[in-house]
């Protein structure tokens, strides 16, 4: 949760040349040897100091297991948690983009009160620790509102195709209210950063474009829509993908408001099995695998589109 949105949204025009090294030299050998030695030392220290019997054999069963009663393979807590994390990331990502876009437009509005309101929202969220934001927002705002709206009962009573669609998109209907709470908290948190990325993108379009449009008689809104936004979009794609990838990791904080995602599942299993390290290392590996894959894919796409534009 560090170093986001501070990255300037400009500079997409000409990516720096990729660093291609010389052959491996003595410096590389020494550095790698030092790192390896440090790793071995740490592992040795942990192994001798830690009273712990490792048991990795129980982990696969918490991902999927063979249910003898029904004779089928069933997903267990870890996989269910992972799927919830992914569903929530997608839903919160889309919501954050919509809110972020609205807020970004509000941030550059020529009506002062709209500008101030958007600024207040962004500053409020960005200057609170994520954990505190989630707690305050959950207990005072989203929790009561969602209960008041009767979301839980509504989801429970759904049937037919609507129920199936809901189950695919948002998971089990009886957990829907819980899912929505987590998603809304996360989306509002991330949207503040998205707002700043988009605003930076809009403001990076040179003033001359605005003036030229005005000279051609375009209204402010049409200028934004036809001239500025299309140029800004290109500039914001790289920081925006970075932000969405970090959303996957940030989603782990909603485990603290009991949203049944990957981190929450890890907590539940570690209590039942007392195998704290295996569980958390597995959960860490899951997050890493997702985030790393996403960043490799996004880098490829960026390069692809970057090349196509030139």
């Amino acid at each position: 949760m560090v170093g986001r949105a501070e990255r300037p949204a400009t500079g997409a025009e000409r990516p720096p040349p990729r660093v291609r090294g010389r052959r491996i030299g003595w410096l590389d050998v020494v550095l790698l040897a030092l790192v390896a030695a440090a790793a071995v030392w740490v592992i040795h220290r942990v192994d001798t100091r830690l009273t712990y019997t490792w048991n990795w054999s129980m982990i696969p069963g918490y991902v999927v297991f063979f249910d003898e009663a029904t004779g089928t393979w069933r997903s267990n807590l870890l996989l269910d948690g992972l799927v919830t994390t992914l569903r929530m990331t997608v839903a919160a990502g889309i919501m954050a983009l919509v809110i972020g876009a609205l807020m970004a437009v509000a941030r550059v509005s020529n009506v002062p009160s709209i500008r101030w309101l958007a600024r207040t929202y962004v500053e409020l969220v960005r200057n609170l620790p994520p954990l505190i934001f989630i707690f305050v927002f959950y207990f005072f705002i989203s929790g009561p509102v969602i209960n008041l709206l009767g979301v839980a009962d509504w989801a429970r009573e759904l049937d037919g195709p609507a129920r199936q669609v809901m189950a695919v998109l948002f998971g089990p209907p009886e957990r829907f209210a819980n899912f929505v709470t987590g998603t809304v908290c996360l989306a509002l948190f991330e949207a503040a950063y998205v707002t700043e990325i988009l605003r930076a993108g809009i403001q990076a379009v040179s003033q001359g474009q605005w003036e030229a449009s005005q000279a051609l008689g375009l209204s402010r809104w049409r200028t934004l829509r036809l001239i500025v936004v299309p140029q800004a979009v290109r500039k914001v794609v790289p920081p925006l993908t970075g932000q969405l990838i970090s959303l996957v990791k940030d989603s782990s904080i909603v485990s603290l408001i009991s949203v049944q995602e990957l981190t929450f599942a890890g907590q539940q299993i570690s209590v039942a099995t007392r195998k704290v390290f295996e569980v958390w290392l597995t959960v860490a590996a899951f997050y890493f695998a997702i985030c790393f894959t996403l960043s490799v894919v996004s880098r490829r796409l960026e390069r692809h589109f970057g090349a196509a534009r030139r």
Partner: protein, 274 residues
């Protein structure tokens, strides 16, 4: 829930201002009790934490344990489906107040502080705290006195009655708190804490599983606790129903029988790995 209550409060206030005292009880009767609400919904939602063997996750991801059996029986008797709402321990009472579920049945001990925020039924179980110590750090003790020392570090679950028990019984010791039971045990096994305090039977089970590392200085429990269901305030009908349900199931031996199964036997051992 809140919405309706606000309306009633407003109605009551209005009635009092108008001097129509008779409207008071009449308006109060329109409150739907939890029992009606649950029957209408067809689902009883129970908030549960994560404490072996009170309530925890089995190998196949199901919610099992003493409380799970109690909640199932309660839902059966009400003729409704049961839905567990797994919740982090720290947020249990706030989540109840926010209406995320109908009841807490999760080994929650009655404390004055909690009673000020929620209603508790009569107790359906009693428990107590026990201390398990790290053999290498503080060996061969046969009383708790040696642990009431400011050089001793004792671990417990955050916000649990065990944490309060440490403060009450061993006020001089340094208390460190963690979110989950598993972390508390690991901290003592690693030697970062000298001992931990938890509800029975956990310290006894853990020290039997790690005999070379842990021991019980004293077998007697201290700071006894009473566990009860918690529900939102202001619902006398539901409280009456639940109290009598507990009394009935105490008299017919159901609660005792389930308690003995989960707390004194290991017959359920294959629900967890190993």
């Amino acid at each position: 829930m809140f919405h309706r209550r606000t309306l009633i409060a407003a109605a009551l206030a209005g009635a009092m201002l108008g001097g129509i005292t008779a409207a008071g009880p009449a308006a109060a009767q329109t409150t739907t009790s939890l029992t009606d609400e649950v029957s209408e919904r067809g689902v009883l939602r129970v908030g549960v934490g994560n404490f072996v063997p009170w309530v925890f996750r089995s190998k196949t991801g199901d919610i099992v344990g003493f409380e799970a059996d109690v909640a199932k029986q309660l839902a059966d008797d009400m003729g409704v489906e049961l839905e567990f709402v797994p919740t982090v321990w720290d947020g249990m009472v706030p989540a109840l107040l926010a209406g995320n579920f109908d009841l807490i049945i999760s080994g929650m001990s009655i404390t004055p502080e909690r009673m000020l925020r929620a209603n508790f039924t009569v107790p359906y179980a009693s428990s107590g705290n026990m201390l398990a110590a790290n053999r290498d750090r503080i060996p061969n003790m046969t009383s708790l006195d040696a642990f009431d020392n400011r050089n001793v570090t004792i671990a417990a679950v955050r916000g649990s009655t065990s944490a309060s028990a440490v403060q009450a019984e061993l006020p001089n010791a340094r208390l460190v708190q963690f979110d989950a039971e598993a972390d508390v045990l690991q901290e003592v096994l690693n030697g970062n804490a000298d001992a931990y305090v938890a509800s029975v039977p956990k310290p006894a089970v853990d020290s039997a599983a790690n005999p070379e590392k842990l021991y019980l200085p004293v077998r007697e429990t201290f700071q006894g606790t009473l566990e009860a269901f918690a529900l939102r305030k202001g619902d006398a009908d539901a409280l009456n129903f639940l109290n009598n349900w507990i009394l009935l199931n105490t008299a017919n031996g159901f609660l005792q029988e389930r308690w003995e199964y989960w707390f004194t036997t290991q017959e359920w051992g294959d629900l967890v790995p190993e």
